[in-house]
Symmetry: C2
Subunit: 305 residues, 2 copies
């Protein structure tokens, strides 16, 4: 199953040095999930050939402009481009008030339904479950209510070993139970162990999106063993005071989070406008957690087993 994320914006606060503020798009089994939607996200989608019509879910971490100001424009373009199917938006409740006000004054009635799921930044909770994933909010510690999002692939069924099943002439009604991991008892009483009948399904993968936050204990347990961890790294560690004051994280701290939660891989992003080049941020994180990459716009990271 495809499970990958493409970076659409990597800047914090303001666009600068050809970096756009935060947005990412996940492709999970050929469905697109947009995560944050800064100003210019729809332009970035055109640039990187991400089809807005394929997005069914949009997640907004918090209501700082660099995470959501592209949303109304995107909704409007979807409307103008003939969208009919429902769009689900996950985010803080006031987002609806903001969108409604802007639609009201532009006298626009969208041609498709918007369905809202309001997030609560004080508790973790599953906000979406479909055939492919669970999505949970990750309560973070920012200046205003803010959540990250944890995408956990569902456990998939084992695959039957076709030749073995045919050889034993197992009736089809047993297949679902065997796929789930059960053994098979033949009419003669022989027990065939599940691992002789199936190939184990891939381990469920996960993507943890840790948006703007102070580095605290509170979200670590929840993202343990994340296959891919995106963590903000607004500043170098020599700006720790500034990071604490603005409730952001340093690159070194992002590396520490990756170590502590035992992530397979780390992407850092949300870079401050003070950094024209990003090598120092990358080096700082890699010193702590070697398997780190920069959130480069247009780059796709596969969340692999």
């Amino acid at each position: 199953m495809k499970f990958e994320v493409t970076i659409l914006g990597s800047s914090s606060a303001t666009p600068i040095f050809n970096r756009n503020p935060t947005a990412q798009v996940l492709n999970i089994n050929e469905k697109l999930y947009l995560v944050d939607c800064a100003e210019g996200t729809q332009q970035q989608m055109l640039r990187f050939d991400v089809k807005a019509s394929r997005i069914d879910y949009i997640f907004i971490s918090h209501l700082h402009g660099d995470h959501y100001l592209g949303l109304v424009g995107l909704l409007s373009s979807m409307h103008l481009n003939g969208r009919k199917k429902a769009l689900k938006i996950f985010g803080p409740a006031p987002l609806k008030e903001i969108i409604d006000l802007q639609l009201k004054y532009s006298e626009t009635t969208l041609n498709y339904p918007l369905e809202y799921v309001f997030t609560d930044a004080t508790v973790k909770g599953v906000i979406l479950e479909n055939q492919d994933v669970y999505v949970e909010t990750i309560p973070l510690d920012h200046r205003i209510p803010c959540t990250g999002f944890l995408f956990r692939q569902k456990k998939r069924l084992n695959k039957l070993i076709k030749e073995r099943i045919e050889e034993l002439a197992i009736p089809v009604q047993y297949y679902p139970a065997i796929k789930k991991g059960n053994d098979y008892e033949a009419p003669d009483g022989t027990i065939y162990k599940n691992d002789t009948l199936t190939i184990a399904a891939e381990q469920p993968r996960s993507y943890a999106y840790v948006s703007d936050t102070l580095y605290t204990e509170k979200y670590l347990q929840q993202i343990t063993n994340a296959t891919l961890l995106y963590h903000e790294a607004t500043f170098l560690h020599d700006m720790l005071d500034r990071a604490n004051q603005t409730h952001h994280t340093t690159a070194l701290q992002a590396g520490e989070v990756a170590v502590r939660v035992n992530a397979d891989k780390l992407i850092i992003g949300h870079f401050s406008a003070r950094y024209k080049t990003l090598n120092e941020l990358l080096d700082e994180a890699k010193n702590v957690f070697p398997n780190t990459e920069l959130a480069v716009e247009g780059k796709t990271f596969v969340i692999s087993e």
Copy 2:
């Protein structure tokens, strides 16, 4: 006196084909005036090296997203970049409600004063007068309240012919009256005609920004003799029904407006997403009014005598 306009966005409705929705910046005597501010305007300003810190006035024609969705992001960036001086915003009254709501939920108090002048799309009126220009609203006929903006350079004083003034030993207290066009009566009763004492000042130039509108009579008289006319030309004339239905103008009609108001030059913009290339729109307008150019993003047009 410098008087020029740089195109930052030329698309209607949605960004497409590397065209951004509407925004322009006027440089009048080294002060910047932003006219409309679609999503991505601040990115376009970075691209074309337009300094946000030099903008003192922002004009918003109407509350369709393709004309103002970049405003809150720009205001926020000005704040983050340390702006202290006041910014004047001219636009429909609900704009303040929209901005206030977004600042409230991002818990942002801007470090500089925003001063609003609310426009009334039913009457023309001077909304700004400073040492360089008058700015008038142009009531237009769009689906929601919408104004254009007419920038009229102030009449400048005549220049004294220094040698002639010295030769006649005209006392300095007479200079202001002579600069304004008065004749001079010498102590011996001789009358010296003004045109022998001064060089006429340049003729006041004007820039008419005709945003989204149906082609009607109502705004023509006001923009008569515009030095430079920007007029929307969303469609080719074979789409006239669609233009009428959506309260827009065709390229042919934009050319007709330029002829009827005796403009020196026409720029057409606000191109529909249906046109990947723009040659046909340009040709259609030029057939009616030859001195027409396309609103090309990044291009600066001098409003010349």
